[in-house]
């Protein structure tokens, strides 16, 4: 079962703190390699907080942890903090503006049983695997 949603990336507190505390900690990974979903969408997917989902765009896919909801997310929308995980699925094309599309991207989301949210430093090689 998978759903199609619009992905928004943005600032979250743990992502912001990571700029100063460092991006190698488990705490950073837990905060940033995560995906906030709408409660009804979660029910349709039969998933709960801390389950794993695979998020795929036209440029790539990444496994993320379902986050606890702090700020509301509307139906059909997902929120992932800015960071090296979500960058695996952000396309580099800028339509001549210099700016890649980091928000408002169509993605598919489906739950996965076995999956590893990657270690930050090997992320760039992850695509080759």
């Amino acid at each position: 079962m998978s759903i199609e949603v619009i992905l928004i990336t943005g600032r979250s507190t743990s992502q912001g703190l990571g700029l100063e505390l460092g991006k190698h900690s488990e705490k950073y990974k837990r905060g940033v390699a995560s995906c906030e979903l709408n409660v009804d969408d979660m029910r349709d997917l039969a998933i709960e907080t801390d389950d794993l989902v695979k998020v795929s765009s036209e440029c790539g896919s990444v496994v993320l942890r379902v986050a606890e909801l702090e700020q509301e997310v509307p139906r059909g929308v997902a929120f992932v903090p800015n960071g090296p995980w979500v960058n695996l699925i952000i396309c580099s094309d800028t339509s001549g503006t210099g700016m890649p599309r980091y928000k408002g991207i169509r993605v598919k989301i489906h739950p996965i049983e076995d999956g590893i949210v990657g270690d930050v430093s090997s992320l760039v090689e992850a695509e080759d695997e």
Binding site: T13, E20, C59, F79, N87, S92, G96, G98, M99, Y102
Partner: protein
């Protein structure tokens, strides 16, 4: 135990550049900070946790610690050997360092870009077509009775923005919270939306349509659709009325506009809306700049080269064409063959394809943090934290320049971005002969 308090410290984190921090030092360590938000507090208390002090070079057998002279020499050689080096970052360092960076880029005929490229670049592109009716933050504090945050979540990104500059302040003409109205326009119900007087939840990628509908309403014309951007027609008329009937309104906008579908066209629509509003009342607009000196990078680049970011020196004079001379596009087309990254972590922020290209060529990283980019760099040279361990000038989001102070000594042998860049520039000139 003695405590020394340094007052009036400007916080080197975000575009708010709050300059009322009090830093308390005891036994040569920062032990507390007053007036900072959690980001500023975290930076001052923890800056030394994830930082390097020794230059590191990637050799055939892995990473090797080297002395500064070796690192500088290797960096200079990488830059000279490159046909089209990319110098990127610049937003988290001082204006003084940015100036040296520009001189270096010109010397080696490279392309120099700052993080505006992937942040408010589209806002500047729109400004260059439409113009911008703006002000400094004190005007908002003194006069604003209508404050709109559009595509921005300040309680998460610019935590003291409300209390220092907008609804939480007492201004000459607006004494209490009741004298002001706060509106949030966003795709989700954020922390900021919860403290607003009015929250308009819109569909993703629909800002352009909403702004166009507002411009129709401003001209007292009929909006033909029943619903635009997920809002009912009447809600849009109400919002337009609110904007027209204020005495002094301002829209603060964030990356919700620049990063969504439409990018610079969204900002184009916003700037046009505010320009149109000035026929009816006093209205202004300001982008919420992220890093503490990204506005400074744009200002310095512009006065020295005429252009704010994505400046190409490969022909011996400045050229500017976002999409052509901007970092992500250059990387995607595989045009650069080396890079110097200063005060930024593009490996963590760029789309993966661009990061891969960055890492496929020699990369020099100058940064106090042990960032992802520094870890992957061919040459990583640690520097000082501007605004903590060395001085410098930075520009706030409204382009007010402020002096950053030094509150504590850096580690032995650790130099500032300015000093390191000057060393590299000197070595480049020696090698070129």
């Amino acid at each position: 135990m003695t405590f020394n308090v340094t007052n009036d410290i400007a916080c080197p984190f975000c575009g708010c550049l709050c300059d009322d921090l009090k830093v308390i030092i005891s036994d040569g360590k920062i032990v507390d900070v007053k007036n900072a938000c959690i980001y500023g507090l975290t930076k001052f208390l923890n800056y030394s946790l994830e930082r390097s002090v020794t230059p590191v070079v990637q050799g055939d057998n892995g990473k090797v610690e080297v002395d500064l002279e070796t690192a500088v020499d290797k960096s200079a050689r990488i830059l000279i050997d490159a046909k089209y080096p990319l110098l990127y970052g610049w937003s988290c360092t001082s204006c003084e360092a940015q100036r040296v960076g520009l001189e270096l880029a010109e010397e080696i005929g490279g392309v120099i870009d700052n993080t505006t490229s992937v942040c408010h670049g589209p806002s500047i592109e729109a400004l260059q077509e439409i113009g911008e009716s703006t002000c400094t933050l004190g005007e908002v504090k003194s006069r604003a009775d209508l404050i709109i945050y559009w595509g921005s979540n300040p309680l998460q990104s610019h935590m003291r923005h409300l209390s220092r500059y907008t609804i939480g302040t007492e201004g000459r003409f607006r004494k209490t919270r009741d004298d002001r109205t706060m509106v949030v326009i966003d795709v989700r119900n954020t922390y900021s939306a919860r403290v607003a007087d009015y929250f308009y939840q819109i569909e993703p990628n629909s800002d352009y349509e909403l702004m166009s509908a507002l411009r129709v309403a401003l001209r007292d014309q009929e909006i033909e659709q029943d619903e635009v951007a997920g809002l009912k027609k009447d809600e849009i008329y109400d919002l337009a009325d609110m904007m027209i009937s204020c005495d002094f309104g301002i829209v603060f906008f964030g990356l919700g506009l620049t990063m969504s579908l439409g990018a610079n066209r969204n900002v184009d629509a916003a700037l046009s809306l505010i320009r149109d509003l000035n026929k009816r009342t006093k209205f202004l607009i300001m982008p919420m700049r992220g890093h503490f000196n990204v506005a400074g990078a744009d200002v310095v680049f512009t006065w020295q080269t005429g252009y704010p970011f994505a400046v190409d020196f490969s022909r011996g004079y400045p050229r500017y064409n976002p999409g052509d001379t901007s970092a992500v596009d250059i990387l995607l087309r595989g045009e650069s063959d080396a890079s110097l990254i200063v005060a930024s972590d593009p490996v963590a922020t760029f789309p993966v394809e661009a990061s891969k290209r960055l890492l496929s060529n020699p990369l020099i990283c100058i940064d106090p943090h042990r960032s992802l980019t520094a870890k992957a760099a061919t040459v990583a040279i640690p520097s000082n934290f501007v605004g903590i361990e060395c001085t410098g000038t930075a520009y706030r989001m409204d382009t007010i320049p402020l002096p950053l102070k030094k509150v504590i000594e850096p580690p032995e042998g650790c130099l500032s971005d300015v000093q390191l860049l000057e060393m590299i520039l000197r070595r480049v000139r020696e090698l070129k002969g």
